[in-house]
Amino acid sequence: MSFHTPTLAAALALTITVFAPFTPAQQTTKDGVRMENAVNRPDRPYRPAGSSDPRDAGPHVARGFGKVQRRLVYVALPGGSAGGQFSSEQNGVGIVVLDADRNFEFVKRIPTWNVPASMSPEEVSGIAASPTTNMIYLATRGRLAAFDLASDKKVWEQTYDGTCCERPEVTPDGKTLVVGSDLKDFWYIINAQDGALKGKIQAPKSNFAHNMALSADGNTVFMAPNGVTMTVGDVPSMKATKTITFSDHVRPFVINHDATRVYANLNNLLGFEIADVKTGQVIKRVEAPAEMWKPQWADVKQRFFGHGCPSHGIALTPDESELWVVDNINYGVLVYDNTGEWPTLKMTFPTTASADWITMGLNGQYAFLSSADVVDVKTKKIVGQMKDEYGKPMHSEKLLEMSFANGKLVRTVSQFGEGIPSAVQTRLSARQK
């Protein structure tokens, strides 16, 4: 055989070169594995014998992609005024969501209900959420509604007997909502999943249901009226068990981690009273220094103070090392050291407006005030402002900080600044060491 042209000769040579690797003598890898047994694709090149290919175990995904947690603040609107300084309607209706990891920037507004422009929307009277049901609950003076946190859609809405609703809290198992009636003398016990009424706790000595607190185990509810006598109730049996009478009308109050103490704001007091739950007795009255507030409070020509009392807002840090009390006279917060036998005033700090409510955030890192201020609990510095999508501060008292993973609520707080057993235990353990 002979070749007539150099081109053909070159083509044949190339062909031989191309097919050379497919000749039987060369169908092994360099370490002797037969090619048909060795994976060797461009996206999965052959590796020498004895070494593993991570791709054999499925894709290795960077851990950063697994971080789909979001830490958000849900602010219900309109959620109560800030001492009459601002209209509670100035931020419209809905739940405004802020991103706690991004300087509290606006995320979205979740529609709640459509209210005609000609009507004033009903105030949101309370807010709660449950990781178990993955729902957030909004109470207004008129209805109670649940919204699915995965879709932001309303799941159910109830008006019950027409006297619904005041502050809600949900039991830790997510099964039960305890909700005040709208200024009546009973509290509703509700199925948190579907809104069905389970029963009521009658509290005849606590007419005008208003503020409340639920013990960490979900068994004991403290029901405060716009009056002097608080009723303590047993949630499982739906029975009132005792009452605690304070020296004046009870305003916001908190309970400690094991529900043995109540710290309550009262009318005509910049400070608080402490009640012992076991005995049902007030055991201590703590007043802020008189010069801070008594002259102003006694001056009838003075402006209206937040909610008509010197102090409307009280919260324990989750570990109960501090008790924060709103100072409506001076637009600030009083911080009490709560590590001793009785709380002692250790510092104050100013707020940008009247702060009529304090909600402690996750891990006790931030405190959220209805002055729209976000305060770093450790430094007492204002580190952020809660603003709506138009940049207007939101003076809502009904908000929750919530932590999500893959769209599922994993942790939240109570609207009320109650002590948290695990945080208290951690602090006490550290002290013992």
Partner: protein
């Protein structure tokens, strides 16, 4: 003769395909990067801007918060692309997982590297190159991102 010519052309074409595919072995990974990251921005925002693996994971977390998503396979490809092309590594301090990804070596080789550095830290590329299983070509290609 015509048959011979046809075979020659087929052979040449196959050669080209093989060469192209081998040269661009990370093309599927880059395609996944464009799928996952390119929904919101161009790849120019990170190309040529290497960071250490912790920082990239912060970025991945940040992007995930902002809506970046993909199939496990896509995210795996994105992971590999960033490790092999955009990640800084310190051979004497980085985790074995990072070393494996960045040097393109097996887990066993990466473990051998960390084992060796426990006894004596690496002084430079030459010592690394001398280890069995380390690909000199990859090492050379990625040397600007490797420190000791």
């Amino acid at each position: 003769m015509k048959h011979l010519l046809a075979w020659a052309i087929i052979g040449a074409t196959m050669t080209c395909i093989t060469v192209t595919a081998q040269a661009a072995s990370d093309v599927p990974d880059f395609a996944a990067v464009k799928t996952v990251c390119g929904k919101c921005h161009t790849t120019a925002v990170f190309e040529g801007k290497p960071r250490n693996w912790d920082r990239w994971n912060d970025v991945f977390a940040d992007m995930t918060q902002r809506g970046a998503s993909g199939t496990n396979e896509d995210l795996g490809r994105v992971t590999r692309y960033f490790l092999e092309n955009l990640t800084l590594v310190n051979i004497n301090t980085s985790a074995a997982e990072e070393i494996a990804g960045i040097l393109g070596v097996s887990d066993e080789v990466a473990e051998a590297i960390t084992e060796r550095r426990r006894k004596q830290p690496f002084a430079g590329l030459a010592e690394l190159r001398a280890l069995p299983g380390v690909d000199s070509a990859k090492l050379e290609q990625r040397r600007s991102r490797i420190s000791f």
